[in-house]
Symmetry: C2
Subunit: 221 residues, 2 copies
């Protein structure tokens, strides 16, 4: 497919047909995704390809409490788990929330689930000493993660970049035997989407791009 079409139609797919996704197909997708950039070309990413039912069941158990919390924050009109505005949602409110668990169940039941980790011993994270979150630590893994979803789309598959399970990073790493210095980056369910969306809703360019300074002229073109 043409890049432009792939970019504009790679949506967050969560409903998949039962059609299996073979190792050959996963391999083909990763064989294209691996050309992503990383700091010093260190390629600190590692992928675990999960199909076993017992592992999926445990993944779902790790995700559910976080999804419950997420849903309660969403219901309250918050941007969940952000580091600027502390959540006003109480534990009692969270406990009383009944989130649509099928939303995460479908993800855990995808034909194949990829777990992506990144080796923190090769990733630059300049502002680790600062109080704010180091966004930069993700610069050497998410181009690769996103490449996986673009390459999957090119094969007629779909998926979603999910991070819920990251809230239980320690338990996840114990489940899969992942060493401490590897950080969880993404969980990617992959499969053939029940329906391929083609009209994605995004802000137009002048709403997010400006010339020269933060208060500069919006970029019109």
């Amino acid at each position: 497919m043409e890049l432009q079409e792939v970019m504009r139609t790679t949506f967050a797919a969560r409903n998949f047909t039962d059609e299996p996704v073979s190792d050959a197909l996963v391999g083909k997708i990763l064989d294209n995704a691996r050309f992503a950039p990383s700091g010093g070309n260190r390629q600190g990413w590692r992928v675990i390809v999960v199909r076993k039912a017992a592992t999926r069941k445990r993944l779902l158990e790790l995700i559910e409490p976080t999804f419950q919390r997420y849903w309660a924050q969403m219901q309250a009109g918050e941007a969940p788990f952000n580091t600027v505005n502390p959540s006003q949602v109480t534990e009692a409110q969270i406990a009383a929330t009944e989130p649509p668990m099928e939303f995460v169940r479908k993800v855990a039941q995808a034909p194949v689930v990829l777990l992506v980790f990144v080796d923190l011993s090769v990733v630059a994270a300049f502002d680790s000493a600062a109080e704010r979150i180091s966004v930069i630590a993700g610069a050497s893994v998410y181009p690769f993660v996103w490449n996986i979803l673009l390459a999957a789309r090119n094969e007629g598959l779909g998926g979603t970049l999910t991070t819920f399970v990251g809230a239980k990073g320690g338990e996840l790493q114990a489940l899969l035997g992942v060493p401490e210095q590897m950080a969880f980056a993404a969980m990617l369910p992959l499969g053939r989407p029940v329906k391929q969306l083609t009209k994605l809703k995004r802000k137009p360019v002048p709403e997010f791009a400006v010339l020269e300074r933060w208060d500069g002229t919006p970029l019109e073109f």
Copy 2:
């Protein structure tokens, strides 16, 4: 261009011809890149398009001391700025290092330089309370950042994802008038590459992908 060709040939371009990159072209690139995913589709990214000489000069001043430190760590065989293995390089060694500053100068002198920030008030960062770096905070901005470079390649342009200036995030935000809650994510020089590379060196799939567990069988296909 075909997705597969774009993915496999989008290299880290740092040498550009003098050919200008118009707002129309930057707009076209961003108009494709904006279809990237983000948590809750919140699209917290913002782009500042820099061409002014005074701003570039200041960007370079902010980058140089970090590049000096980076180069000294590289010379010592370290993975610069990682959070697992503390650097053994001394301040005296850093001061004595003479890095190839033209490497960063060329970046600052690209036909156009994009600075990408992300709004931390809409980004999920689950493990903000943990001691380790939250890689996840980057999940809602680097797919967009990487889309910019892929879309640029599709237009015959090139660029690089650089983060050096992030070490002076406060000064950078003061320079461009960027509010505190926006985190620096990437600096992207863009232009027409002097030479288009087509053979990128990356590890084969079985070296980074395994089945079911960390110690599982490598994915062969």
